[in-house]
């Protein structure tokens, strides 16, 4: 699994970076920069929380694409 941000919905509230600082940091304008690597299993609960708590529902968990 990996985290993806819908850049049109996102308006830079920044909650996600507070809940998951291991993988999300904010740029100089308050918008999240997400580590594109697949999520380590131990961070999955925090990632789910970041997804659920986003006030504008701009962040989602997606299955990592398997490269053939």
């Amino acid at each position: 699994m990996r985290l993806v941000v819908d850049p049109i919905k996102c308006d830079g509230r920044g909650l996600c970076a507070g809940l998951l600082p291991e993988l999300i940091r904010l740029d100089d304008w308050g918008y999240p920069i997400v580590n594109p690597e697949p999520l380590p299993a131990h961070l999955l609960p925090h990632a789910r929380r970041a997804v659920e708590d986003c006030p504008v529902l701009a962040i989602a968990l997606r299955r990592s694409q398997v490269k053939k």
């Binding site: 049109i8 740029d27 918008y31 920069i33």
Partner: protein, 357 residues
């Protein structure tokens, strides 16, 4: 109209034709995707928005060869079993619109019956595929987050082909047994005869400039591909073949005269690109504005000395974080400026003093 072979999409694929609007996507692949889903409902969008400010090739083609563009559009309609053809022409390109409409009146009744006209807003992003579809569906010419992709659900939720007018002209030539061996470019800046040229694919930029009458002044740098392209050193650019591997983009070749200031020029283009953000995505709207402001402070000699390091950090952070490729293109342009004009950016403070002396 020419007769089409049973496997016309195969003929497009074998010709190697790629889109001439800027993205360079393989045309056969795009047609196959629409053909598979059409079911007689497909929509063809003839993209003559030409939002790139320095480019003139699409409007010149529509003005001087409107039937060739229409041939390509109606071939697409036949092969993809389309229900509608929409002429999406830049609202400022009046001559092109008149020529296309005049040509349309000379076509057969069944062809004319497929066609409607739409005026593309005169904005940079209006020609982007999803922006065109968004405009035709809802009147807002801003890009949207895919999916669904245009070939799945585009105009009126039908499978949609959005194709640049030069690409459609090549389709018409392929249908007549030709091969796409030429391309249209626009020469701009310090060249004797600025404007549109048709050159053989693979012609070097140096040869193309010679065909345009040569340089008016020794160039400091060459902007290959327009505002979404890259600055190059003249010696490197001169040898570069004009084909679609060379990031030709929409085909604009701009020559920056040695007497012009590359930092000021870059800052001006960045301000334009920042203003052309459709303001939907934070990293694009705020990021491009910040990049343009930092460039402008350096150009105006009022930087606090940290702007260059800010720019170098931001060009890594901004790309890939918008719904469309607008921020990516703007950052690619700026990155090339920071590379080719590194000493001009680092030593810009002395520029006004030198000029005043």
């Amino acid at each position: 109209m020419p007769q089409l072979g049973v496997d016309f999409i195969g003929a497009i694929e074998r010709s190697g034709l790629v889109g001439r609007g800027g993205a360079g996507f393989p045309v056969g692949t795009k047609w196959r995707a629409v053909a598979q889903r059409s079911g007689g409902r497909a929509v063809i969008v003839v993209n003559g928005a030409e939002g790139e400010p320095r480019s003139q090739k699409d409007r010149l083609l529509m003005t001087t060869r409107p039937h060739l563009v229409l041939d390509g559009a109606f071939i697409a309609a036949r092969v993809l079993r389309a229900r509608r053809v929409i002429l999406y022409i830049g609202e400022r390109h009046e001559k092109a619109r008149h020529a296309m409409l005049r040509a349309l009146h000379e076509r057969t009744e069944p062809e004319r019956g497929l066609v409607t006209l739409a005026a593309a807003p005169g904005r940079y992003v209006a020609g982007a595929e999803t922006a065109a579809i968004h405009f035709l569906n809802e009147g807002i010419a801003t890009p949207t987050t895919a999916p669904p992709l245009p070939f799945e659900q585009g105009v009126d939720r039908a499978p949609t082909l959005v194709q640049n007018v030069e690409t459609l002209a090549h389709i018409a030539l392929i249908a007549r047994g030709g091969r796409p061996t030429s391309t249209l470019i626009t020469l701009a800046g310090g060249v004797a005869r600025p404007g549109v040229l048709e050159v053989e694919l693979g012609t070097s930029i140096g040869d193309a400039v010679r065909q345009g009458g040569g340089v008016t002044e020794q160039p400091k740098a060459v902007l290959v591909g327009g505002y979404f392209g890259s600055w190059m050193e003249p010696a490197e650019a001169w040898k570069l073949p004009l084909d679609h591997r060379a990031r030709l983009g929409c085909g604009v070749i701009g020559l920056l005269p040695a007497s012009a200031c590359p930092v000021c020029e870059t800052a001006g283009i960045m301000r334009y690109l920042a203003a052309e953000s459709s303001a939907q995505c934070g990293p694009c709207f705020f990021g491009l504005r910040a990049l343009a402001d930092a460039c402008t402070r350096i150009a105006d000699n009022r930087s606090d000395g940290r702007d260059l390091s800010r720019l170098n950090r931001w060009v890594d952070e901004v790309p890939g974080r918008g719904a469309c490729r607008h921020p990516d293109g703007a950052v690619m342009f700026l990155s090339s400026a920071l590379r080719v004009f590194a000493s001009d950016f680092a030593n810009h403070g002395s520029h006004d003093l030198r000029r005043a002396a």
